[in-house]
């Protein structure tokens, strides 16, 4: 042991220095680690937003732990789990929202799955073909917190906070419109249909449209909306016109709006103002219809060619349409009159209507203007079914003043108002033609035919007689005549006796005439010869041997 100690004594002695850093500082390392870990936990806790449940019809494209929730392409959450609902009718996606997206867990937020969609209106969500579907979100304005949401099956067309205005449109039926159908203003797309629903009474549809800013200012209180779906073909005096908004509307439907021509109220419409959606541009641009009135007409004639929807015109101005055509039975006359019901819009008559109403009011007339109508009927106001198209025989109802109309008893207080009728022009023509036909029918064609037949038989007999007896006689007579003519012919021929005699006679006559002329010439020169006779030295002109070569110069020389 002592040796060992000696060894130690020989060894060098360590140097003592100032105290070193405390070894327990190494605990800083786990403390820092803990702090880092803690900061992560706090960060995660601080960042964690609310967890919400969204139910969808199907979990197609939803990937637990991966599918993001996006708002304006910013990820605001992630699908954590996807499970079936208890009743297995839908799926429930549990979504962890980020802290910043806390506002999305409120009552009127909307969620939908963005998948690639190809429709007539266009293609959307192409990017999700590769990246996979994601859940789109749209925050509302409500502050009320909510945890369970029902996801939309189609993306909403209008997102909250988008600049623009929403308007309501009322129409009879939806037509070919759908959510997302475009709304055009001067053929530029300025908005779309955001939703539609049946009216509570089931009589009509209310569409909600959204017009993007800044074009929403063009919607004024007097704007007219019409359904621009399909192709509008009109045949007018200036030819065939085909009118469409765009190819997309032809296929997928669409709306258009515009202010009516002429002076109108141009104040911009307020949010959620209601408008009427017309079927076409022409109806939309027509003056406002005003309150419809129901009238009834009783026609004592067949109304073949009159269809429901046929126009009702007043002095050529269309102001209503036929809504019903029914047969009635009149016991007194045992006829079947046709009852035609029509809806008319008196306001369409414009100033005429305004003035009539004013006059009626000033005279204290009732609401139906029965007294005024009575006056008009007295002056000959009648409804007529007239032919609008001679080819197809389509009828329309025309209200006109017929001064020659027969007087009728008119009660303006019946409801609905019954307008007296007059047979139409075409009916008159028909009546006249019928009369003519009647008269023609009265002609006794049968007896005329019989008589004619008898006469013909007599004639036949006569002809037979003629053939049998008269004709042979005639033949003989003709033969005799022929003989006579032959004789005459031979008598007249140049070598016949008669002809020669005649020639000789004529020559003699010629000679006699010449000697007479010579004598007259001589007497002209020597009138004394009548008393004294011819002198001896006078020579008479030599007589030509034949009458033919008579020379006129010889006769005129002396």
């Amino acid at each position: 042991m002592t040796d060992d100690k000696n060894i130690a004594d020989d060894l060098p002695e360590p140097v003592v220095q100032r105290p070193r850093v405390n070894a327990s500082l190494v605990w800083l390392v786990p403390v820092i680690a803990a702090l880092v870990g803690l900061s992560l936990v706090i960060h995660a806790w601080y960042d964690a937003g609310p967890t919400i449940n969204i139910s969808f019809q199907s979990a197609e494209g939803l990937d637990p732990g991966k599918t993001p929730v996006k708002y304006k392409s910013v990820i605001i959450g992630k699908v954590n789990t996807v499970r079936l609902s208890d009743d297995r009718t839908h799926v429930v996606a549990k979504v962890a929202l980020e802290k910043s997206a806390k506002g999305f867990a409120t009552a009127d937020s909307r969620f939908w799955v963005v998948r690639p969609r190809i429709g007539l209106g266009g293609v959307s969500g192409i990017d999700t073909l590769l990246s996979g579907a994601f859940i789109g979100a749209d925050a509302g304005q409500s502050q009320e917190p909510k945890e369970d949401f029902v996801g939309l099956e189609t993306p909403p067309t209008v997102t909250h906070g988008a600049p623009g205005r929403t308007f309501d449109l009322h129409t009879d039926d939806l037509g070919s419109l759908d959510i997302g159908s475009p709304v055009y203003y001067r053929r530029i797309q300025v908005g779309r249909v955001s939703s539609y629903h049946l009216n509570k009474d089931g009589k009509g549809v209310t569409l909600q449209i959204f017009i993007d800013a800044p074009n929403d200012q063009f919607v004024t209180t007097s704007s007219r909306f019409w359904n621009a779906s399909g192709v509008d073909v009109s045949l007018g005096a200036d030819g065939l016109k085909v009118n469409t908004q765009s190819l997309a509307t032809v296929l997928a439907g669409g709306l258009a709006f515009q202010d009516p021509p002429g002076p109108h109220d141009a104040t911009p419409a307020q949010e959620n103002d209601a408008f009427t959606l017309f079927n076409d541009q022409a109806t939309a641009m027509a003056p406002p219809d005003g309150e419809p009135r129901y009238i009834r007409m009783r026609f004592n004639q067949s109304l073949r060619g009159l269809a429901v929807g046929a126009p009702v015109e007043f002095l050529g101005v269309p102001f209503g349409r036929v809504v019903s055509i029914n047969l009635d039975y009149d016991e007194k006359t045992q006829t079947f009159p046709t009852i035609v019901g029509a809806v008319v819009y008196p306001a369409r008559l414009g100033k005429a209507h305004d003035k009539l109403v004013a006059i009626a009011k000033s005279q204290g007339d009732d609401e139906q203007m029965s007294a005024m109508m009575g006056k008009l009927v007295d002056r000959g106001l009648r409804a007529q079914a007239r032919t609008g198209n001679l080819l197809t025989g389509q009828l329309y109802i025309a209200m006109d003043f017929l001064p020659k109309a027969t007087k009728v008893d008119f009660d303006g207080r019946t409801k609905p108002l019954e307008i007296p009728t007059a047979p139409g022009d075409f009916d008159k023509i028909q009546q006249q033609i019928a009369d003519i036909v009647n008269k023609i029918q009265k002609v006794p064609f049968d007896s005329i035919g019989n008589n004619l037949d008898q006469s013909l038989a007599e004639l036949h007999k006569t002809l037979q007689q003629v053939n049998g007896s008269v004709l042979p006689e005639l033949k003989n007579t003709l033969q005799g005549a022929q003989k006579t003519l032959g004789n005459a012919d031979s008598a007249l021929s140049p070598d016949s006796q008669l002809q020669q005699n005649l020639g000789g006679t004529l020559q003699e006559l010629q000679r006699a005439a010449r000697s007479l002329r010579v004598m007259t010439d001589y007497l002209g020169a020597h009138p004394d010869a009548l008393l004294r006779g011819r002198r001896a030295d006078d020579k008479l002109a030599p007589m030509p041997p034949s009458p033919a070569p008579v020379e006129p110069s010889q006769g005129s020389k002396p």
Binding site: L11, P14, V15, Q17, V26, P30, L40, G132
Partner: protein, 207 residues
Amino acid sequence: MSELLRASDLGLIGCHVCRLVCRDVKTPDAVCPRCGCALHKRKSASYTRTWALLIAAFVFYLPANVLPIMRTVSLGDVDDNTILSGIIELWRKGSPDLAVIVFTASIVVPVLKFFALSLLLISSQRGSQWAQRQRSRLYRLVEFIGYWSMLDVFVVALLTALVQFGFFSQVEPLPGVVFFGLTVVITMLASMTFDPRLIWDGRESDD
């Protein structure tokens, strides 16, 4: 078996660096007269440091497993993977061998290290004489496998560097891999600060 003398029994102390043997002056601030290195009979505050580092490593190991370590983007399909989900994916996609390797390197080895070091620390602090030889073998094993558990970090680093094809395919590291790397480094430090001689020091209390 007669007791073997220890250096401290002889009043000697060796320098860790230049291996000069000096007299033990029993002061904590002694310095080697030749190279100026601090002199300790054992690694100074070995228990404290090892415990501290081990606990720090364990704390880092939690986020390393919870946070995703790698993001793979292929054709717009973004996929974030933690260590475990990556292993599961590898297994499902038909590479069970790879899955086993990654599982061993990323889960088994760190956990094994935590257990081994804790076991060594507790048993040594108690001065237990149980299985001293096996414990020292365990220590050597811990030292040896330490750096192999960096596999995950290497994989992420390599893929990040190699797979950069923009839209078609891209790999990005995520915070988890940093914590995992820290865990591995700190466990290695912990095993380094542990003085294996402490395993044998327990003998004293026996006699």
